[in-house]
């Protein structure tokens, strides 16, 4: 039976290497056939906002197409695709109150709304838990 890893993240997008590393860890776990639960708390709920748009880079002189700017919503969408391809579960919860106060409720397909009780249930049921805080 596949193992399950639960991760809690807090960083808003584009502000910290913590977001990148957390997504690398999720990716690595999915690649290994491990089920992953992600609890996005506080600023991390903005990682999946549908309204994110890539932009050109006037300093580098690149167009939107040339720049291929990775929005975090696309990175997360890609993780959901990877999970499907590997036949494992990626369950992503955006903390509801955090979503409300940030106006971050318009998210991509995949995540669902939840709260601390969901995270606690995951923690009790999964094989390991990693909390990646913000500073």
């Amino acid at each position: 039976m596949a193992k399950t890893l639960t991760i809690c993240i807090m960083e808003p997008p584009y502000e910290s290497a913590n977001s990148t590393t957390s997504m690398r860890i999720i990716d690595a776990a999915l690649q290994k056939g491990i089920n992953v639960n992600v609890f996005a708390y506080e600023g991390a709920v903005s990682l999946t906002v549908k309204d994110q748009k890539p932009h050109p880079n006037p300093v580098h002189g690149t167009s939107v197409e040339e720049e291929k700017h990775p929005t975090t919503k696309e990175l997360v969408a890609g993780l959901f695709e990877l999970a499907k391809e590997k036949g494992v579960k990626l369950d992503w919860i955006n903390c509801g109150l955090c979503v409300d106060e940030r106006g971050a409720g318009n998210w991509i397909e995949g995540p669902r709304r939840g709260g601390p009780a969901d995270f606690h249930k995951w923690v009790q049921e999964s094989d390991a838990t990693l909390v990646i805080p913000t500073k």
Binding site: P116, A117, Q124, P133, T134, K135
Partner: protein, 127 residues
């Protein structure tokens, strides 16, 4: 049930806008949901153990922040709810915090005792 220690080390982060410390709030929510949790304050978060905090009175533009977080009060409520609260003694000393300015309800613990405290829990979440 897995027993969880929440280590809090970053104080006053968004506490005016959130009207809570996000980690204390989360830990208390877990307790309310039946969880078995404890708190360790270290680093600048040891200041949360200081009794005489007054975060009130901020007005930004036309908006008055009516219920700012009072982490000391929140920790006392958490203690009453059965959540043990530990505070790293050396971190209070290096910040010059007098022993008698701390709420007496919390337990001071030395750096050397940390491994023993961590061993009492199944998980340690370092926030």
């Amino acid at each position: 049930m897995k027993k969880i220690l929440c280590v809090v080390e970053s104080a006053y982060r968004g506490t005016q806008e959130e009207q809570d410390d996000a980690v204390l709030w989360f830990t208390h929510a877990l307790k309310n949901g039946g969880g078995d949790v404890g708190i360790l304050l270290r680093g600048n978060a040891v200041n949360y153990a200081v009794a005489a905090q007054d975060p009130s009175g901020l007005v930004i533009g036309k908006f008055s922040i009516e219920h700012p977080a009072n982490p000391n009060r929140d920790l006392l409520k958490m203690k009453q709810a059965g959540i043990p609260v530990h505070v790293v003694r050396e971190d209070t000393e290096e910040r010059g915090i007098a022993r008698n300015s701390l709420s007496q309800e919390f337990q001071l613990i030395s750096h050397r005792e940390l491994p023993g405290l961590l061993a009492q829990y199944d998980q340690v979440w370092h926030w």
